[in-house]
């Protein structure tokens, strides 16, 4: 096949483009650690999820073990129902406590799983019974002020 003088330059151009796409995928983006939708799903209900978002991390002992897949409000109990998709490598006992924590002072919110001592494990579709809602700063401050006021009136 006859080669034109443009072939080499265009080949280089396309190769550079592909290299930078790989750079974007692996170094900038998170394709390397990308989950393909596998895993088992568990359900957790919270009184208040605060600023938790879909695709937020699910961590146990600080290690990411899954993602929040869906958040809906239960129309009967008015609780927030979250579906957590967990890595099949990890199993959690039935009495696991799910709580919503914040990474750092201004960081993102995530679901923390604290493993209990039960020998029965959570399976696909199971529900985490023990949950702890997100901390709401305004409520905390309100509670703090209320306690302070109560203390003051009690000491007088």
């Amino acid at each position: 096949m006859k080669r034109s003088k443009y072939d080499l330059a265009v080949g280089l151009f396309v190769a550079f483009g592909l290299m930078s796409l790989v750079f974007l995928a692996l170094k900038v983006g998170n394709l390397a650690g990308y989950d393909s939708g596998e895993g088992y799903r568990i359900e957790a209900r919270f009184d208040n999820i605060g600023g938790l978002k879909v695709r937020a991390a699910v961590k146990s002992a600080g290690v990411v073990v899954g993602r929040v897949e869906a958040i809906v409000l239960d129309p009967e109990t008015y609780e927030a129902k979250t579906i957590l998709r967990l890595d099949p490598r990890y199993r959690f006992s039935k009495d696991t406590i799910a709580s919503i924590l914040t990474s750092g002072l201004l960081g993102e919110q995530y679901v923390n799983l604290e493993v209990g001592g039960d020998s029965v494990y959570l399976g696909n579709g199971d529900r985490v019974v023990k949950t702890q809602p997100a901390m709401i700063l305004e409520k905390l401050i309100g509670q703090f002020l209320f306690n302070k006021a109560a203390e003051n009136t009690g000491s007088k």
Binding site: Y6, V10, F13, L24, G33
Partner: protein, 264 residues
């Protein structure tokens, strides 16, 4: 005609001629699409156009990307360090480059660098009757001249956008990590945690492809229908840059609203 109705008739004329031109663009676009297989089969034609519009834009795009990234790092750091979160600089730079600046600035540069050249080339071909001559020899100018240039723009813009984004992130790395001294690990890991490949990178590339289609179509259209005079070609070239830039910015708004509607 009644003097009072004159402005109304002017308005009507403006709207009607704008609509007619839009229809012409639409027919032209369909005309290109029907002969799009030709440059794929005659691959050397396409390679030549990718060389002229894509490869020759490499320098301007990567250097611009580098400097945009460096400026973003300096400005972003200035604001972020007030809140004590200078480590989030990588996230700020990467997301703004991948989602918006990369595709948009690349498209604007491409319209100025390559779109204008395409219009001038085709306009001059038209003015010197080269296209009519081709038609006489039973060579379809749409397939031989227009389609390769259009396809080259569609191919080049996403590749250039990738390079722009990579150069920008590298520039912000140089300034943020090497010069200012942000922790390198935090810079990359926070970036990786926040930039989603499908949501951010792929959407940015979709934008770039759409902008490539828009610029390619506008530049070949303006050239093809340029009045065959020196003045006509020059005003067609100007119009390519102006119309492409405005179209890119408007399309960007529409695409952004559509792509990120489900977020937050």
């Amino acid at each position: 005609m009644n003097r009072l109705l004159e402005p109304l008739a002017d308005l009507g004329h403006v709207v009607l001629s704008a609509l007619a031109r839009l229809g012409l663009v639409g027919r032209f676009f369909i005309g290109i699409l029907t002969v799009l297989w030709f440059p794929v089969r005659r691959f050397s034609l396409l390679v030549r156009e990718v060389y002229f519009s894509g490869f020759r834009s490499l320098l301007i795009v990567t250097v611009s990307g580098l400097f945009v990234g460096m400026v973003l790092a300096v400005q972003g750091y200035e604001v972020l360090q007030r809140f004590g979160s200078a480590e989030s600089l990588g996230v700020l730079v990467a997301l703004s480059l991948v989602r918006e600046l990369g595709p948009v600035v690349t498209a604007l540069l491409f319209a100025g660098r390559a779109g204008s050249a395409t219009t001038a080339e085709i306009g001059l071909m038209q003015a010197t009757d080269q296209i009519a001559a081709m038609d006489m020899m039973a060579i379809n100018p749409m397939a031989r001249i227009i389609a390769p240039r259009f396809l080259a723009a569609v191919i080049s813009v996403p590749i250039l956008a990738c390079l722009f984004i990579s150069a920008g992130i590298f520039g912000s790395y140089l300034v943020g990590v090497q010069l200012i001294g942000i922790d390198e690990g935090a810079f990359w890991s926070q970036m990786q945690a926040s930039v989603d490949f499908r949501l951010d990178v792929i959407n940015g590339l979709i934008k770039a492809v759409v902008f490539g289609v828009a610029i390619g179509l506008i530049s070949v259209f303006e050239g093809y229908y340029a009045p065959p005079t020196a003045e006509g070609v020059s005003s067609a070239t100007t119009r390519t840059v102006v119309v492409s830039s405005l179209t890119v910015l408007m399309l960007d708004f529409g695409l952004t609203v559509w792509m990120f509607r489900g977020l937050s």
